[in-house]
Symmetry: C2
Subunit: 257 residues, 2 copies
Protein backbone atom coordinates (compact mmCIF):
# COMPACT_ATOMS: atom_id res chain seq x y z
CA UNK A 1 0.00 0.00 0.00
CA UNK A 2 2.61 2.45 1.01
CA UNK A 3 4.72 1.28 -1.88
CA UNK A 4 2.02 2.08 -4.33
CA UNK A 5 1.74 5.61 -3.11
CA UNK A 6 5.31 6.50 -2.33
CA UNK A 7 6.64 5.55 -5.72
CA UNK A 8 9.07 8.40 -6.09
CA UNK A 9 12.47 7.09 -7.12
CA UNK A 10 14.08 6.08 -3.87
CA UNK A 11 17.65 6.61 -4.99
CA UNK A 12 17.18 10.22 -4.02
CA UNK A 13 16.22 11.44 -0.57
CA UNK A 14 13.28 9.22 0.39
CA UNK A 15 11.46 11.56 2.73
CA UNK A 16 7.88 12.31 1.90
CA UNK A 17 5.02 13.62 3.99
CA UNK A 18 1.28 13.37 3.84
CA UNK A 19 -0.70 16.47 3.13
CA UNK A 20 -3.57 17.39 5.41
CA UNK A 21 -6.58 19.28 4.14
CA UNK A 22 -5.72 22.58 5.79
CA UNK A 23 -2.43 22.55 3.95
CA UNK A 24 -4.13 22.64 0.57
CA UNK A 25 -6.28 25.55 1.68
CA UNK A 26 -3.23 27.42 2.81
CA UNK A 27 -1.13 26.44 -0.20
CA UNK A 28 0.53 29.50 -1.70
CA UNK A 29 0.01 28.21 -5.20
CA UNK A 30 -3.55 26.98 -4.77
CA UNK A 31 -5.02 29.90 -6.72
CA UNK A 32 -2.88 29.86 -9.83
CA UNK A 33 -1.49 26.34 -10.12
CA UNK A 34 -2.82 23.11 -11.51
CA UNK A 35 -5.22 22.81 -8.56
CA UNK A 36 -6.91 26.12 -9.32
CA UNK A 37 -9.61 24.55 -11.45
CA UNK A 38 -10.45 21.78 -9.00
CA UNK A 39 -13.44 21.84 -6.70
CA UNK A 40 -13.03 20.94 -3.04
CA UNK A 41 -14.16 17.33 -3.45
CA UNK A 42 -11.77 16.59 -6.30
CA UNK A 43 -8.98 18.39 -4.51
CA UNK A 44 -9.57 16.20 -1.47
CA UNK A 45 -9.40 13.06 -3.57
CA UNK A 46 -6.21 14.20 -5.23
CA UNK A 47 -4.77 15.14 -1.88
CA UNK A 48 -5.00 11.55 -0.72
CA UNK A 49 -2.47 10.40 -3.31
CA UNK A 50 -0.28 13.45 -2.85
CA UNK A 51 2.90 13.62 -0.80
CA UNK A 52 4.96 16.62 0.04
CA UNK A 53 8.65 16.32 -0.55
CA UNK A 54 11.72 18.49 -0.07
CA UNK A 55 14.84 18.69 -2.17
CA UNK A 56 18.04 20.48 -1.31
CA UNK A 57 19.65 22.85 -3.79
CA UNK A 58 21.46 20.84 -6.42
CA UNK A 59 19.54 17.60 -5.93
CA UNK A 60 18.21 15.69 -8.89
CA UNK A 61 14.42 15.46 -8.99
CA UNK A 62 13.82 13.53 -12.20
CA UNK A 63 16.38 11.88 -14.42
CA UNK A 64 16.20 11.86 -18.20
CA UNK A 65 16.30 8.09 -18.59
CA UNK A 66 14.71 6.45 -15.55
CA UNK A 67 11.03 5.63 -16.05
CA UNK A 68 8.92 8.42 -14.65
CA UNK A 69 7.28 7.19 -11.44
CA UNK A 70 5.59 10.36 -10.38
CA UNK A 71 4.68 13.89 -11.34
CA UNK A 72 5.21 16.94 -9.20
CA UNK A 73 3.98 20.47 -8.65
CA UNK A 74 6.35 23.08 -7.29
CA UNK A 75 5.24 24.64 -4.03
CA UNK A 76 8.34 26.69 -3.35
CA UNK A 77 11.81 27.12 -4.77
CA UNK A 78 13.16 27.04 -8.32
CA UNK A 79 13.98 24.03 -10.48
CA UNK A 80 15.72 23.78 -13.82
CA UNK A 81 15.05 21.48 -16.74
CA UNK A 82 18.12 20.48 -18.71
CA UNK A 83 19.45 18.19 -21.38
CA UNK A 84 22.93 16.78 -21.65
CA UNK A 85 24.76 15.67 -24.78
CA UNK A 86 26.73 12.38 -24.59
CA UNK A 87 29.99 14.34 -24.33
CA UNK A 88 28.74 16.33 -21.35
CA UNK A 89 27.66 19.59 -22.92
CA UNK A 90 24.63 20.83 -21.09
CA UNK A 91 21.72 23.05 -22.06
CA UNK A 92 19.12 24.36 -19.65
CA UNK A 93 15.67 24.29 -21.22
CA UNK A 94 13.83 26.43 -18.78
CA UNK A 95 13.19 27.15 -15.14
CA UNK A 96 10.26 26.03 -13.05
CA UNK A 97 8.78 28.39 -10.48
CA UNK A 98 5.78 27.80 -8.23
CA UNK A 99 3.17 26.70 -9.25
CA UNK A 100 4.63 24.91 -12.27
CA UNK A 101 3.88 21.28 -12.95
CA UNK A 102 6.78 18.96 -13.78
CA UNK A 103 6.76 15.65 -15.58
CA UNK A 104 5.80 14.59 -19.06
CA UNK A 105 2.19 13.43 -19.12
CA UNK A 106 1.27 10.68 -21.60
CA UNK A 107 4.82 9.39 -21.84
CA UNK A 108 6.60 7.10 -19.44
CA UNK A 109 9.83 9.05 -19.49
CA UNK A 110 11.09 12.55 -19.25
CA UNK A 111 13.48 13.47 -22.02
CA UNK A 112 15.31 15.88 -19.73
CA UNK A 113 16.63 16.24 -16.21
CA UNK A 114 14.84 18.19 -13.53
CA UNK A 115 16.94 19.40 -10.65
CA UNK A 116 16.62 21.80 -7.75
CA UNK A 117 18.34 25.16 -8.11
CA UNK A 118 17.34 26.40 -4.68
CA UNK A 119 15.84 24.32 -1.91
CA UNK A 120 12.55 23.12 -3.27
CA UNK A 121 9.30 21.77 -1.90
CA UNK A 122 6.97 19.91 -4.23
CA UNK A 123 3.73 17.98 -4.13
CA UNK A 124 4.28 14.61 -5.79
CA UNK A 125 1.65 12.42 -7.42
CA UNK A 126 2.14 8.74 -8.27
CA UNK A 127 2.08 8.50 -12.02
CA UNK A 128 -0.54 5.78 -12.52
CA UNK A 129 -3.03 7.20 -10.06
CA UNK A 130 -2.58 10.71 -11.35
CA UNK A 131 -3.13 9.56 -14.91
CA UNK A 132 -6.47 8.11 -13.88
CA UNK A 133 -7.46 11.40 -12.30
CA UNK A 134 -6.38 13.22 -15.38
CA UNK A 135 -8.51 11.01 -17.59
CA UNK A 136 -11.52 11.49 -15.35
CA UNK A 137 -11.14 15.21 -14.76
CA UNK A 138 -11.26 17.36 -17.91
CA UNK A 139 -10.87 20.53 -15.88
CA UNK A 140 -7.54 19.27 -14.59
CA UNK A 141 -6.41 18.37 -18.08
CA UNK A 142 -7.52 21.79 -19.27
CA UNK A 143 -5.43 23.49 -16.63
CA UNK A 144 -2.37 21.40 -17.45
CA UNK A 145 -2.89 22.18 -21.11
CA UNK A 146 -2.81 25.90 -20.36
CA UNK A 147 0.35 25.53 -18.29
CA UNK A 148 1.94 23.54 -21.13
CA UNK A 149 1.05 26.22 -23.66
CA UNK A 150 2.79 28.77 -21.47
CA UNK A 151 5.85 26.56 -21.32
CA UNK A 152 5.83 26.26 -25.09
CA UNK A 153 5.64 30.04 -25.45
CA UNK A 154 8.59 30.39 -23.09
CA UNK A 155 10.59 27.72 -24.91
CA UNK A 156 10.07 29.55 -28.20
CA UNK A 157 11.14 32.86 -26.73
CA UNK A 158 14.35 31.22 -25.58
CA UNK A 159 14.89 29.63 -28.99
CA UNK A 160 15.02 33.11 -30.51
CA UNK A 161 17.49 34.10 -27.84
CA UNK A 162 19.68 31.01 -28.25
CA UNK A 163 19.75 31.14 -32.02
CA UNK A 164 20.02 34.81 -32.78
CA UNK A 165 21.29 36.87 -29.88
CA UNK A 166 24.84 37.90 -29.05
CA UNK A 167 26.32 37.16 -25.64
CA UNK A 168 25.62 40.63 -24.28
CA UNK A 169 22.04 40.53 -25.54
CA UNK A 170 21.49 37.14 -23.96
CA UNK A 171 22.68 38.31 -20.56
CA UNK A 172 20.64 41.52 -20.73
CA UNK A 173 17.58 39.50 -21.71
CA UNK A 174 18.10 37.09 -18.83
CA UNK A 175 18.44 39.89 -16.29
CA UNK A 176 15.28 41.63 -17.47
CA UNK A 177 13.43 38.36 -17.44
CA UNK A 178 14.50 37.61 -13.87
CA UNK A 179 13.74 41.10 -12.64
CA UNK A 180 10.24 40.70 -13.98
CA UNK A 181 9.62 37.14 -12.89
CA UNK A 182 11.01 37.51 -9.38
CA UNK A 183 9.15 40.76 -8.85
CA UNK A 184 5.85 39.19 -9.85
CA UNK A 185 6.52 36.05 -7.85
CA UNK A 186 7.50 37.96 -4.72
CA UNK A 187 4.64 40.44 -5.00
CA UNK A 188 2.19 37.56 -5.30
CA UNK A 189 3.50 36.09 -2.09
CA UNK A 190 3.39 39.44 -0.33
CA UNK A 191 7.15 39.68 -0.02
CA UNK A 192 8.24 43.31 -0.17
CA UNK A 193 10.40 43.91 -3.22
CA UNK A 194 11.04 46.31 -6.06
CA UNK A 195 11.59 45.79 -9.74
CA UNK A 196 15.18 46.92 -9.84
CA UNK A 197 16.81 44.91 -7.04
CA UNK A 198 16.91 41.15 -6.93
CA UNK A 199 19.04 38.19 -6.02
CA UNK A 200 20.03 36.02 -8.95
CA UNK A 201 19.29 32.45 -7.89
CA UNK A 202 21.67 31.04 -10.51
CA UNK A 203 25.43 30.60 -10.44
CA UNK A 204 27.44 31.84 -13.42
CA UNK A 205 27.72 28.27 -14.51
CA UNK A 206 23.97 27.78 -14.43
CA UNK A 207 23.51 31.02 -16.33
CA UNK A 208 25.95 29.90 -19.01
CA UNK A 209 24.09 26.60 -19.40
CA UNK A 210 20.89 28.54 -19.81
CA UNK A 211 22.22 31.03 -22.36
CA UNK A 212 24.30 28.61 -24.41
CA UNK A 213 27.56 30.33 -23.47
CA UNK A 214 30.61 29.58 -21.33
CA UNK A 215 31.08 30.76 -17.76
CA UNK A 216 33.84 33.12 -18.82
CA UNK A 217 31.77 34.81 -21.50
CA UNK A 218 28.90 35.31 -19.09
CA UNK A 219 31.23 36.80 -16.51
CA UNK A 220 32.70 39.17 -19.09
CA UNK A 221 29.24 40.38 -20.10
CA UNK A 222 28.37 41.10 -16.47
CA UNK A 223 31.54 43.13 -16.12
CA UNK A 224 30.71 44.97 -19.32
CA UNK A 225 27.18 45.82 -18.20
CA UNK A 226 28.59 47.08 -14.90
CA UNK A 227 31.20 49.20 -16.68
CA UNK A 228 28.50 50.69 -18.89
CA UNK A 229 26.55 51.68 -15.79
CA UNK A 230 23.51 49.63 -16.71
CA UNK A 231 23.62 47.36 -13.67
CA UNK A 232 25.22 47.17 -10.25
CA UNK A 233 26.46 43.92 -8.74
CA UNK A 234 27.11 43.26 -5.07
CA UNK A 235 28.36 39.98 -3.67
CA UNK A 236 28.21 38.50 -7.18
CA UNK A 237 24.55 37.56 -6.81
CA UNK A 238 22.70 40.76 -5.95
CA UNK A 239 21.77 42.70 -9.03
CA UNK A 240 20.54 46.25 -9.30
CA UNK A 241 19.18 47.46 -12.58
CA UNK A 242 20.38 51.03 -12.94
CA UNK A 243 19.14 51.76 -16.46
CA UNK A 244 16.25 49.56 -17.45
CA UNK A 245 15.69 51.25 -20.79
CA UNK A 246 19.32 50.96 -21.73
CA UNK A 247 19.28 47.31 -20.79
CA UNK A 248 16.12 46.72 -22.85
CA UNK A 249 17.73 48.41 -25.82
CA UNK A 250 20.75 46.15 -25.48
CA UNK A 251 18.47 43.13 -25.16
CA UNK A 252 17.36 43.98 -28.66
CA UNK A 253 13.65 43.75 -28.05
CA UNK A 254 13.09 47.47 -28.39
CA UNK A 255 13.50 49.34 -31.63
CA UNK A 256 16.16 52.03 -31.50
CA UNK A 257 14.51 55.44 -31.77
Amino acid sequence: MHNKIDCQDERFSPKTNHIDSSECQLCEVRACGMCSELDTATLNDLRKITRSRDYKAGELIFSDDAPLQSYAAIKSGIVKLSKILPDGRQQTLGLGFPPDFIGRTYKDKNTYFVSAITNVTVCTFPRDLFNEYLKATPSLEHRLFELTLNELDAARDWMLMLGRMSAIEKVATLLLSFADRLYKSNSLQGIPCDETHFELPLTRSEISDFLGLTIETVSRQFSLLKKKGLIGITQQRFIEILDKEGLSLLAGQLKET
Copy 2:
Protein backbone atom coordinates in the same frame (compact mmCIF):
# COMPACT_ATOMS: atom_id res chain seq x y z
CA MET B 1 -23.28 34.77 -41.74
CA HIS B 2 -20.55 34.27 -44.24
CA ASN B 3 -18.51 36.88 -42.48
CA LYS B 4 -18.76 35.03 -39.26
CA ILE B 5 -17.42 31.87 -40.80
CA ASP B 6 -14.88 33.16 -43.26
CA CYS B 7 -13.03 35.24 -40.77
CA GLN B 8 -9.54 34.44 -41.97
CA ASP B 9 -7.57 37.65 -42.41
CA GLU B 10 -8.54 38.85 -45.84
CA ARG B 11 -5.31 40.65 -46.62
CA PHE B 12 -3.96 37.34 -47.75
CA SER B 13 -5.41 35.23 -50.53
CA PRO B 14 -9.12 35.13 -49.72
CA LYS B 15 -10.06 31.85 -51.32
CA THR B 16 -11.67 29.28 -49.09
CA ASN B 17 -13.78 26.25 -49.84
CA HIS B 18 -16.41 24.32 -48.00
CA ILE B 19 -15.61 20.79 -46.97
CA ASP B 20 -18.06 18.05 -47.83
CA SER B 21 -18.45 14.99 -45.67
CA SER B 22 -16.70 12.61 -48.02
CA GLU B 23 -13.64 14.82 -47.89
CA CYS B 24 -13.22 14.27 -44.16
CA GLN B 25 -13.49 10.52 -44.63
CA LEU B 26 -10.80 10.63 -47.29
CA CYS B 27 -8.61 13.10 -45.43
CA GLU B 28 -5.04 11.83 -45.30
CA VAL B 29 -4.56 13.14 -41.81
CA ARG B 30 -7.88 11.96 -40.38
CA ALA B 31 -6.30 9.07 -38.49
CA CYS B 32 -3.50 10.84 -36.71
CA GLY B 33 -4.47 14.51 -36.53
CA MET B 34 -6.63 16.52 -34.19
CA CYS B 35 -9.73 14.89 -35.66
CA SER B 36 -8.62 11.40 -34.76
CA GLU B 37 -10.41 11.43 -31.43
CA LEU B 38 -13.70 12.76 -32.77
CA ASP B 39 -16.74 10.62 -33.45
CA THR B 40 -18.64 11.03 -36.71
CA ALA B 41 -21.30 13.31 -35.28
CA THR B 42 -18.82 15.72 -33.73
CA LEU B 43 -16.70 15.63 -36.83
CA ASN B 44 -19.73 16.57 -38.89
CA ASP B 45 -20.49 19.50 -36.62
CA LEU B 46 -16.92 20.69 -36.78
CA ARG B 47 -16.89 20.28 -40.53
CA LYS B 48 -19.67 22.84 -40.88
CA ILE B 49 -17.45 25.60 -39.55
CA THR B 50 -14.39 24.37 -41.40
CA ARG B 51 -13.07 25.77 -44.67
CA SER B 52 -10.30 24.44 -46.83
CA ARG B 53 -7.70 26.91 -47.92
CA ASP B 54 -4.58 26.89 -50.09
CA TYR B 55 -1.41 28.86 -49.67
CA LYS B 56 1.42 29.17 -52.16
CA ALA B 57 4.99 28.59 -51.08
CA GLY B 58 6.24 31.66 -49.27
CA GLU B 59 2.84 33.05 -48.33
CA LEU B 60 2.16 34.26 -44.82
CA ILE B 61 -0.50 32.26 -43.00
CA PHE B 62 -0.58 33.95 -39.59
CA SER B 63 1.20 37.11 -38.57
CA ASP B 64 2.74 37.63 -35.14
CA ASP B 65 0.81 40.74 -34.27
CA ALA B 66 -2.61 40.65 -35.96
CA PRO B 67 -5.35 39.23 -33.71
CA LEU B 68 -5.78 35.56 -34.43
CA GLN B 69 -9.07 35.09 -36.28
CA SER B 70 -8.84 31.39 -36.97
CA TYR B 71 -6.96 28.21 -36.26
CA ALA B 72 -5.80 25.76 -38.87
CA ALA B 73 -4.82 22.13 -39.35
CA ILE B 74 -2.30 21.23 -42.02
CA LYS B 75 -3.63 18.82 -44.64
CA SER B 76 -0.64 18.90 -46.96
CA GLY B 77 2.62 20.79 -47.35
CA ILE B 78 5.06 22.18 -44.82
CA VAL B 79 4.87 25.40 -42.82
CA LYS B 80 7.38 27.13 -40.61
CA LEU B 81 6.92 29.04 -37.39
CA SER B 82 9.30 31.93 -36.89
CA LYS B 83 10.08 34.93 -34.77
CA ILE B 84 11.74 38.13 -35.90
CA LEU B 85 13.77 40.56 -33.79
CA PRO B 86 13.10 44.29 -34.31
CA ASP B 87 16.32 44.58 -36.31
CA GLY B 88 15.30 41.82 -38.70
CA ARG B 89 17.16 38.81 -37.34
CA GLN B 90 14.99 35.79 -37.78
CA GLN B 91 14.74 32.48 -35.96
CA THR B 92 12.65 29.55 -37.12
CA LEU B 93 10.99 27.84 -34.16
CA GLY B 94 9.84 24.69 -35.83
CA LEU B 95 8.20 23.18 -38.85
CA GLY B 96 4.64 22.05 -39.19
CA PHE B 97 3.84 18.89 -41.15
CA PRO B 98 0.46 17.27 -41.68
CA PRO B 99 -1.47 16.78 -39.44
CA ASP B 100 -0.17 19.54 -37.15
CA PHE B 101 -2.48 22.10 -35.65
CA ILE B 102 -1.50 25.77 -35.86
CA GLY B 103 -2.62 28.68 -33.76
CA ARG B 104 -2.33 29.51 -30.08
CA THR B 105 -5.42 28.34 -28.23
CA TYR B 106 -6.52 30.41 -25.21
CA LYS B 107 -4.76 33.52 -26.42
CA ASP B 108 -5.97 36.01 -28.97
CA LYS B 109 -2.63 36.35 -30.69
CA ASN B 110 0.16 34.24 -32.01
CA THR B 111 3.55 35.36 -30.80
CA TYR B 112 5.18 34.14 -34.00
CA PHE B 113 4.72 34.06 -37.75
CA VAL B 114 3.42 31.04 -39.59
CA SER B 115 4.25 30.84 -43.28
CA ALA B 116 4.11 28.30 -46.07
CA ILE B 117 7.41 26.65 -47.04
CA THR B 118 5.90 24.55 -49.81
CA ASN B 119 2.43 24.91 -51.25
CA VAL B 120 0.10 24.18 -48.38
CA THR B 121 -3.50 23.15 -47.88
CA VAL B 122 -5.10 23.65 -44.51
CA CYS B 123 -8.47 23.30 -42.82
CA THR B 124 -9.31 26.56 -41.08
CA PHE B 125 -11.63 27.01 -38.11
CA PRO B 126 -13.05 30.34 -36.99
CA ARG B 127 -11.58 31.09 -33.64
CA ASP B 128 -14.71 31.82 -31.60
CA LEU B 129 -16.65 28.86 -32.85
CA PHE B 130 -13.73 26.51 -32.48
CA ASN B 131 -13.16 27.66 -28.91
CA GLU B 132 -16.75 26.72 -28.10
CA TYR B 133 -16.22 23.26 -29.55
CA LEU B 134 -13.05 22.92 -27.61
CA LYS B 135 -14.77 23.80 -24.36
CA ALA B 136 -17.55 21.30 -25.05
CA THR B 137 -15.39 18.46 -26.31
CA PRO B 138 -12.79 17.16 -23.83
CA SER B 139 -11.60 14.54 -26.32
CA LEU B 140 -10.66 17.31 -28.75
CA GLU B 141 -8.85 19.21 -26.04
CA HIS B 142 -7.09 16.02 -25.03
CA ARG B 143 -5.86 15.49 -28.58
CA LEU B 144 -4.64 19.07 -28.90
CA PHE B 145 -2.88 18.71 -25.56
CA GLU B 146 -1.02 15.68 -26.86
CA LEU B 147 -0.01 17.49 -30.02
CA THR B 148 1.17 20.44 -27.94
CA LEU B 149 3.27 18.17 -25.73
CA ASN B 150 4.96 16.82 -28.84
CA GLU B 151 5.67 20.34 -30.02
CA LEU B 152 7.17 21.15 -26.64
CA ASP B 153 9.42 18.08 -26.83
CA ALA B 154 10.54 19.14 -30.28
CA ALA B 155 11.17 22.73 -29.17
CA ARG B 156 13.36 21.47 -26.33
CA ASP B 157 15.35 19.21 -28.62
CA TRP B 158 16.05 22.22 -30.82
CA MET B 159 17.04 24.31 -27.82
CA LEU B 160 19.82 21.85 -27.08
CA MET B 161 20.88 22.08 -30.71
CA LEU B 162 20.74 25.88 -30.85
CA GLY B 163 22.57 26.41 -27.60
CA ARG B 164 25.21 23.75 -27.60
CA MET B 165 25.98 22.37 -31.04
CA SER B 166 28.61 23.49 -33.53
CA ALA B 167 27.66 24.40 -37.08
CA ILE B 168 28.58 21.00 -38.50
CA GLU B 169 26.66 19.21 -35.76
CA LYS B 170 23.62 21.37 -36.40
CA VAL B 171 23.57 20.58 -40.09
CA ALA B 172 24.12 16.86 -39.50
CA THR B 173 21.30 16.86 -36.96
CA LEU B 174 18.97 18.63 -39.36
CA LEU B 175 19.69 16.18 -42.17
CA LEU B 176 19.08 13.16 -39.96
CA SER B 177 15.90 14.70 -38.65
CA PHE B 178 14.61 15.36 -42.16
CA ALA B 179 15.55 11.94 -43.43
CA ASP B 180 13.55 10.42 -40.61
CA ARG B 181 10.58 12.75 -40.74
CA LEU B 182 10.16 12.70 -44.52
CA TYR B 183 10.54 8.93 -44.64
CA LYS B 184 7.84 8.46 -42.03
CA SER B 185 5.56 11.02 -43.61
CA ASN B 186 5.94 9.56 -47.09
CA SER B 187 5.56 5.97 -45.93
CA LEU B 188 2.37 6.91 -44.11
CA GLN B 189 0.95 8.34 -47.30
CA GLY B 190 2.03 5.32 -49.32
CA ILE B 191 4.58 7.28 -51.32
CA PRO B 192 7.51 5.03 -52.26
CA CYS B 193 10.69 6.26 -50.63
CA ASP B 194 13.77 5.15 -48.79
CA GLU B 195 15.52 6.45 -45.72
CA THR B 196 18.65 7.66 -47.42
CA HIS B 197 17.33 9.76 -50.31
CA PHE B 198 15.14 12.80 -49.88
CA GLU B 199 14.49 16.27 -51.19
CA LEU B 200 15.23 19.04 -48.73
CA PRO B 201 12.18 21.29 -48.78
CA LEU B 202 14.14 24.22 -47.34
CA THR B 203 16.41 26.73 -49.03
CA ARG B 204 19.83 27.35 -47.52
CA SER B 205 18.46 30.58 -46.14
CA GLU B 206 15.58 28.79 -44.42
CA ILE B 207 18.01 26.22 -43.05
CA SER B 208 20.21 28.95 -41.63
CA ASP B 209 17.21 30.59 -39.95
CA PHE B 210 16.37 27.24 -38.44
CA LEU B 211 19.86 26.44 -37.17
CA GLY B 212 20.77 29.89 -35.95
CA LEU B 213 23.56 30.25 -38.52
CA THR B 214 24.25 32.28 -41.66
CA ILE B 215 23.65 31.03 -45.21
CA GLU B 216 27.35 30.91 -45.88
CA THR B 217 28.15 28.79 -42.85
CA VAL B 218 25.38 26.35 -43.75
CA SER B 219 26.68 26.07 -47.29
CA ARG B 220 30.20 25.44 -46.06
CA GLN B 221 29.02 22.64 -43.78
CA PHE B 222 27.21 20.99 -46.68
CA SER B 223 30.38 21.12 -48.75
CA LEU B 224 32.32 19.68 -45.84
CA LEU B 225 29.90 16.79 -45.35
CA LYS B 226 30.11 16.09 -49.07
CA LYS B 227 33.91 16.16 -49.02
CA LYS B 228 33.94 13.76 -46.08
CA GLY B 229 31.80 11.37 -48.08
CA LEU B 230 28.95 11.40 -45.59
CA ILE B 231 26.34 12.79 -47.94
CA GLY B 232 25.78 13.33 -51.65
CA ILE B 233 24.06 16.41 -53.04
CA THR B 234 22.48 16.72 -56.47
CA GLN B 235 20.77 19.84 -57.75
CA GLN B 236 21.41 21.50 -54.38
CA ARG B 237 18.20 20.08 -52.91
CA PHE B 238 18.42 16.32 -53.31
CA ILE B 239 20.29 14.71 -50.48
CA GLU B 240 21.63 11.21 -50.24
CA ILE B 241 22.90 9.96 -46.92
CA LEU B 242 25.94 7.84 -47.68
CA ASP B 243 27.10 7.11 -44.14
CA LYS B 244 24.31 7.36 -41.61
CA GLU B 245 26.42 6.22 -38.68
CA GLY B 246 29.14 8.70 -39.47
CA LEU B 247 26.56 11.44 -39.71
CA SER B 248 25.02 10.43 -36.39
CA LEU B 249 28.44 10.47 -34.77
CA LEU B 250 29.01 13.96 -36.08
CA ALA B 251 25.57 15.02 -34.89
CA GLY B 252 26.88 14.30 -31.42
CA GLN B 253 23.98 12.20 -30.24
CA LEU B 254 25.92 8.97 -30.25
CA LYS B 255 28.75 8.22 -27.88
CA GLU B 256 32.06 7.62 -29.62
CA THR B 257 33.05 4.00 -29.20
